[in-house]
Symmetry: D2
Subunit: 141 residues, 4 copies
């Protein structure tokens, strides 16, 4: 079943913060990536780990970009909205928007290619995967 | 003294790698950020920690983007070249290129603004900092 | 209200795993610490971040030990049981047990001292904190 | 050639610190593990990554303990001394002591077992490895 918008909630804690008392910049891409991993798990039924280990399908990233608009702190949960933006023959583009307490904290784009995991060789999106995720594309606003 | 190009070498290890046996995507922005932190330390004499804690000057990021062109592994040191690209009134742009064994692995751009740390308020680049780093700008190729 | 046993569930993902396809050893103490942070949040109403930033009370660790009995993977949630074991004048001891799918993965002990955060000076456990957490001590089995 | 004592120097940075402006507790076991990884690299010529991927030998940890005696900050390099303490049939014990500017910050013990990596099955220490590392045992003071 299609679940749009898809949100993944992250607990931001002491461990994620730097001496400026906000989440360290270097942690934020990892938050967004975790949200994408849960998107796969929700829609495909398996996460990156199982896609790679059990199905020999990997989705290494070739690009990411992020704009940071408000600091992230442990005072509120971090709600990450994941949108499938593009589905090419061999590549997949996600947008992730992170919000705390109603405020946008970051927005970013993440482009993966599809590979045969154990050979790290580009391949097309498997047909069963395509069928499941194609209806999930969120077109530009 | 001006040291261009500036390189920071990172040891990539088991701890940085995921089950695909390459450095996890979420670690790579952190590698680049560490390289920028050492760029400050080299040229200004103090790193982010001391800039913030001792001088109350912070450089939070408003943007980063990265293109990944080759996987990073523990088989070679990761040489990160840091280039100061732009120096505005209140913002600073760096490019970081990561290489292993002569191969480009990633290239990215990182935009900071300058703030009064304890108030998280935008300010201009301190004059003494500007004098030191202005000669370090590496213009586009 | 007393909630014993206290459990905190952690999503283990691709990001946490090393090339052996299990959670990296260096991540596991961080899992346990996150569980202790949520224990505070649950019982005191504020987490480490707010204890430090808002109340100027810190709980730096002076000791930790962990025994690892089964590998942790992304195939199951990691259920961390946190037990307050000892409450001294100026120190607090927790045990954390991590389980996946009914199997114990690790058990460890974590000893904190209480400090005035901004001076990093030992102090006694604040009286209101003691009143709340004293009933939560789980005596040895 | 035997190199005792063995030291590995770690750059502690902004990224490693929490809002108390010291290295986060959860990072410290990872520092010690990195030091052990470099110990292997120095003495055996290959690190954990290559031991696992190229030789199918893994050294998963069954125990670690750490005492923290002084906070770690980015103001000084973190010098980690690694001592091989015990070499059993199938297990290896290291001690790691971390120092900054002449002050002991932590001391800990780390026990690994030896496994066939791809089956995660206990095995004896390979004979060539034993020959190389046996002379490196540092007996208790």
């Amino acid at each position: 079943m299609v679940k749009i918008p898809f949100h993944h909630v992250i607990r931001v804690g002491w461990a994620d913060c730097d001496p400026a008392s906000i989440a360290y910049t270097g942690r934020i891409p990892a938050f967004a990536l975790e949200a994408i991993d849960t998107w796969w798990e929700e829609h495909l039924g398996i996460d990156w780990y199982r896609m790679n280990v059990d199905r020999n399908v990997g989705t290494p990233f070739v690009h990411l970009d992020l704009d940071f608009t408000s600091p992230i702190t442990p005072r509120h949960p971090l709600e990450c909205e994941v949108r499938l933006r593009k589905l090419g023959q061999t590549s997949i583009t996600f947008q992730v928007i992170g919000r705390q307490d109603g405020t946008d904290c970051f927005s970013g784009n993440f482009v993966s290619v599809i590979v045969v995991s154990d050979r790290f060789e580009k391949r097309t999106v498997p047909q069963d995967v395509r069928s499941i995720i194609e209806p999930l594309i969120v077109s530009e606003d």
